[in-house]
Amino acid sequence: MKDLNSMSKNPINAAGRAANNFSFFIWDIVSLFFQVLHWLFIGPFKGKAAKRDGIFEQMVFVGVRSIIIVSFISLFIGIVLAMQSAYQLEQMGAVIFVTGLVAVSVTRELGPVMTALVVAGRVGAAITAQLGSMKVTEQIESLETMALNPVRFLVVPRFLALLIMLPALTVIADLSGIFGGFIIGTLNLNIDPHLYLDLTKEFLEWKDIYTGLLKSAVFGVIICIIGCYNGLNTKGGAEGVGKATTESVVTSFVLIILADAILTAIFYFAKV
């Protein structure tokens, strides 16, 4: 480590070091993910299942407590989306298409992504702060000395909670986003309420919904793994916890958008 540090003034070495650190980071993230899978699918057959009592608590924290903020934000996303698209479509006299545009963009894109970003800020940060403060107060080490694996004990319940609750929250976000569009469509654009709902059903396909939910499940995995990784690798007291939390939120945001782009490209080119 020391010789690498002293070479950091040379830009090529600095770049090399950054690439080196980055590849370690990727390796750690992937190995944490596989450890979680190990405890999920292989652990139970060796008589060591994940902590079941922790999962329910985590689901309440991740899911139920996020309902209000997620539906609030999606409602306004739906309203804004309806107004912005109406502004364009009015010029072509095609205001009626607001119905489909809102429904499809919310379910395919904005619902899953906005929900994931909100949950990354709320839950991902909390996960890192919790695990980080446990790390700096020797609680993680104390689990290890009691022969209790921190991944099985702390990460797996959070993983399951996010994997289940993020798609569930996305369904709520989809509904309230469409409702936001419905408000503008019926009150402002004078579309008949029945017609609005019928058109929404007509434009919306099942694949729009399930590709959105598939995305949100992937985002859930990202939030959990990044949050837990940063928490378990926190160093240096209260300041370290703050730093790890910030890092966790920023990294999650970037990876969520990146994963969104990749998944959207796959769905687009595979015509799903």
């Binding site: 480590m1 446990m134 107060t137 020797e138 080490e141 000395t145 022969a147 209790l148």
Partner: protein, 272 residues
Amino acid sequence: MFKKAKVDSEPVIEVRNLVKNFGGRRVLNGVNLKIYKGEVMVIMGGSGCGKSTLLRHIIGILKPDSGQVLIEGKDINSLKARELDKIRLKIGMLFQSGGLLDYMTIKENIALPLTEHTNLDKNVIDIIVNLKLSMVNMRGMGHLLPSEISGGMKKRAGLARAIAHDPSYVFYDEPTAGLDPVVAGVIDKMILDFSKKLSVTSVVVTHEMQSVFRIASRIAMLHMGEIVEVGTPRQIKASKSKLVQQFITGSPDGPISFSQLGDDYLTELTKK
């Protein structure tokens, strides 16, 4: 009042040539130490001399750069996870800050090793937990959270958890640091009680001289990552080593120096 523990003749824990570097700085520089069954081995040394690091190597939380740690003749760093877990079930550890899980009550914390590693009935576990709580004078406080009790109580609760599963080896990381003299005396007495009544082998890391001579069957003095002297309290008191004598008396002048050499100081001051 502080009657010493009896010592057996076979070494149960052996540290061989342990070396550890942290970011280019050598923290442990070839440590050798034998710990015998039933004794209270006290590792003393100044702050930052590597004594907590040594303890973390013995319980296998940290991996050495080179060297071995043998517990009951097995090198714990070459063991598989499952075998290491088996050894850890024989180990109890009291962390500096107690290491209690902050989302669980004191009772749940103490019950944790039992609920996770045994098939005991809930009622039996309750009885054991109450027994351990009364051993550390904390009867009736089991329902409190770690955040609701004082530092001294956290250490006592941590002690109760460390002995909950009747371990053969108990490790203490600064058990009396930051406590008032009476509570420190109480904890010292408990450490001695455990080694006599439960016949455990204890390893205590501390720099509180009063504690050292009260509880130790043997003392190892650690300085700059090396063991400079090992012996019974009487041998250590009579030691000719200036280092040991300075540490016992707490004199600011001697081989343990806090001021830097003239040349180093000059280069550091003038460094740009």
